[in-house]
Amino acid sequence: MTFLVPLGLLALLSIAVLVLFYLLRVRYRDHEVGSTYLWAQLTRDLAVHEPWQKPRVSVLMLIQALLLAGLALALARPALVTGAAERVHAVVVLDGSASMSATDLAPSRFERARARAREVVGGLPDGSTGTVILAAAGPEVLAAETSDRARLLAAIEGARPTDAPGDLGPALRMAVALARGRANGQVHVFSDGAFRAPDLDASGVRVFYQPLAGGGDAAMDNRAIVAIDARPEPQNRRRYQAFVRVQSYATQPTEAVVALRADDRLIDSQTVQLAPGGSESLIFADLPLDARVLEARLLDHDALAADDRAWTVLERREPIQVLLVTRGNLFLERVLSLIPDVEPFRVPPRRLGAIDDGAYDTIVFDGIVPDVLPRRPTLIVNHQDSPFLPVRGLIRRPGALVGQADDPLLRYVDLRDVRVARLADVTPPGWARVVAEADGHPAILAGEPEGRRTVVFLFDLQSSNLPLSASFPILMTNVLGYLEPPRALEQPVVHPGAALRVAPQPQTEEIRLEGEGSVLQRLKPTTPPLALDAPTRVGLYTISQLAAGKVASVEPFAVNLTDAEESDLRARTLALPSDDQARSAGLPGSRELWPLLVVAAAGVLVGEWWWFHRRA
């Protein structure tokens, strides 16, 4: 026998403390008597008033000393050396993907996985070590390598399934890497196999795959929303129609009722007949004009809840409010009034100070450049010398404009015949790209100085034939489209756990990811864009941007499963590579005795209780 923690034997000193307590005799039971006349004379003979007493043999003291001895020995973790090569290093991989929440195995596949994982950890030989990894959108180590079985079990207990599509490849590669080269390295995979078998080199590692798919009728019962989208109606672009695709995984014909909600208000529901393994598309028209978020929901419960709901966000454009600062420019005023979804406002330069430029989406300066530009997207036409962009002089008759062919500002724009009379001569700053030039001199610049999108025309429209060309309205549409305040989110619909790219507005001080009634994440904006992980549960979330302590914008985004692989709950056959010959030369094993000692101590405690109450 050996002691794994010999220092635990120091706890035997507690027996000396116990005896000390008995010697000190510090506790008396009060008892009233009629008179102490007779007892008072006895104390001299018995000498009980002395603080230190000769220890008397007490059954209670013996029982308590026995109890302490047992616990002290348990702390030292005595163990019998078995001599067998039993210790292993087990890496437990729990599949936390969406399909593991399926209830075809009661209470769920994931609960079954946890139960089996607990059995594996509980059955590990003494002295073994373990690691727990949750595999969902990516691998997450819940318990790093430890021999503390309670910690491993707690990690398993704390694991939660996600709605993310499964990809066990990275988790399995990590697990194999952790187990490789260790004595008796093992990987235990608890999964329903709803993923493509990864390319895995398992040499030197035994991989145990425990399939958890229930299959059967319950698994066959699943129906899923595999796609949802919304688009403007062809006849009226201010109205939208929704498109929903429903897939059946049943082996029998079935039907599904799909309800559509707009901003949490039920709009319509449709019943669809589904062939075995087939899918059907539904179109919902006449959506409310002000709807912003659509939710499609399958009304019947089935084996997997995560694919029964899906959301989409309507990219509804509000009219862009453009402030035109000019002494008068017929071309600009005319073109701005022609572009759809643009609402122009004109103000002369002398009244610029009285205007709250923050109330406009875009500012257009014509022939004037203030010393300090507003923190809004800006178009400068007929640029003048300013600290913002110094002008060295004028270039007269520079020749035809030549555009950068791949620049998005020049999409569908033909500048071949466009000429200008005069061109401001500037050196392109670091933030600017040259969109068009004439005789090698920049004519149109674009960029994002201090995070603010800016386009600069270095010539006067009225001394150019550009306003007379057919490309002018297209160019202005492209420019305003570029200057339009961008959405914070590049994609309003993502998969659970996917990368979420956020482009904050220049004035944003804080970004909040909110959902399920609480703030899930707070971020400080950095130069664009921010990348963060989307929530791993399906649902509707928002990204809020705060500026000057106030909420400047709130953009909803949806997290949808819409993954046919996860919704297909049929039992899968999956063969994971395993090196069954991998066994170590062996380290001596041991069997710990502390549980027996704890049980014995509990027995002694019960004995003490009985003894104490028997006297009372």
């Binding site: 009060d30 009629g34 007490s58 009372a616």
Partner: protein, 303 residues
């Protein structure tokens, strides 16, 4: 004792009427001449009849009455009938303790002894004792006074500590009461008990001592008493003074207590024997019938 419980049951009172207190003075049959000479103004004037009892002078039997009724009656003359009986009962806080309560037991004993005295036309005085002697009840005479006796006993409350020397000395020293049979009912848990008894003897009282204790005082190691188990640490708190004594209660301690108890109780008994006083040790759990008809009779207190 619960309120409303009579000190003496009617049936017991009836049986007590057959008893009388034993007094050496009564047994000696003092001559009228001697009484007259000691108690000026007393006469041999006939007072009453009572049934003959053991110890009565056969010369006082009224044979005429015997001839008419067939029962023995003795004639009572005023100076003979009025044997003074002094019931002195300890009502200190130490008496108001124990299971059964010693004060309750003392009240019942006093009621029984007092009723016997009243039934026998003795002149009865009853006084409570604690640090000093309390208000004396009496003299009472005749069965008609029994209600007054019982009412007086029931009204006693234990409020103070014991000082038997001072209390009995105070009673003995008070004037206006004839010496007679002094019955002291107490636990005698007072260092001055001997002084008190000596004071009564000096006043020529004939003495009877009823040593009343509760079972826990006699056997602290007995069931339901102090003894909870071996090796227990106890802080004994004096009910009278609040002072405490810390003891390690084990078998040797109990043996030591038993020795001390025997020595103390033996000292009281030896004192009584030496001075011709009756001594009765009574436990508070003893029934009144047992005490009156066995213990008191055996110890020659009642006949």
């Amino acid at each position: 004792m619960s309120e409303g419980t009579p000190l003496l049951a009617a049936e017991l009172m009836h049986r007590l009427e057959r008893l009388q207190l034993i007094s050496r003075a009564r047994a000696a049959g003092l001559s009228h001449g001697e009484r007259r000479s000691r108690q000026h103004g007393a006469s041999t004037q006939f007072a009453d009849y009572r049934e003959y009892a053991f110890g009565d002078d056969p010369r006082l039997v009224d044979w005429n009455v015997y001839g008419r009724s067939g029962h023995l009656f003795v004639k009572l003359f005023e100076d003979e009938a009025l044997l003074a009986v002094h019931l002195l009962v300890d009502v200190s806080r130490s008496m108001d303790w124990g299971e059964p309560n010693k004060l309750d037991a003392a009240r019942r004993l006093a009621a029984a002894l007092g009723y016997v005295a009243l039934a026998r036309f003795d002149r009865l005085y009853v006084a409570p004792l604690d640090e000093d002697v309390g208000p004396t009840l009496g003299p009472l005479w005749g069965r008609d006074q029994a209600a007054k006796l019982l009412e007086g006993l029931a009204g006693w409350r234990a409020r103070r500590a014991t000082d038997l020397g001072r209390a009995l000395g105070g009673y003995a020293g008070s004037t206006g009461r004839r010496p007679g049979l002094a019955i002291v009912i107490s636990d005698f848990l007072s260092p001055t008990w001997e002084d008190g008894l000596r004071a009564l003897l000096r006043r020529r009282h004939e003495l009877a001592v009823v040593h009343l204790l509760c079972p826990e005082e006699v056997r602290p190691g007995g069931p339901g008493a102090l003894w909870a188990g071996p090796g227990e640490e106890l802080r004994l708190i004096d009910r009278e003074t609040g002072r405490h004594v810390e003891i390690h209660l084990d078998a040797p301690a109990l043996d030591a207590y038993a020795r001390r108890f025997a020595e103390w109780a033996g000292a009281i008994e030896r004192f009584c024997a030496h001075h011709g006083a009756a001594y009765c040790r009574v436990d508070s759990d003893a029934t009144l019938e047992t005490t009156c008809f066995e213990t008191f009779r055996h110890r020659r207190v009642l006949a």
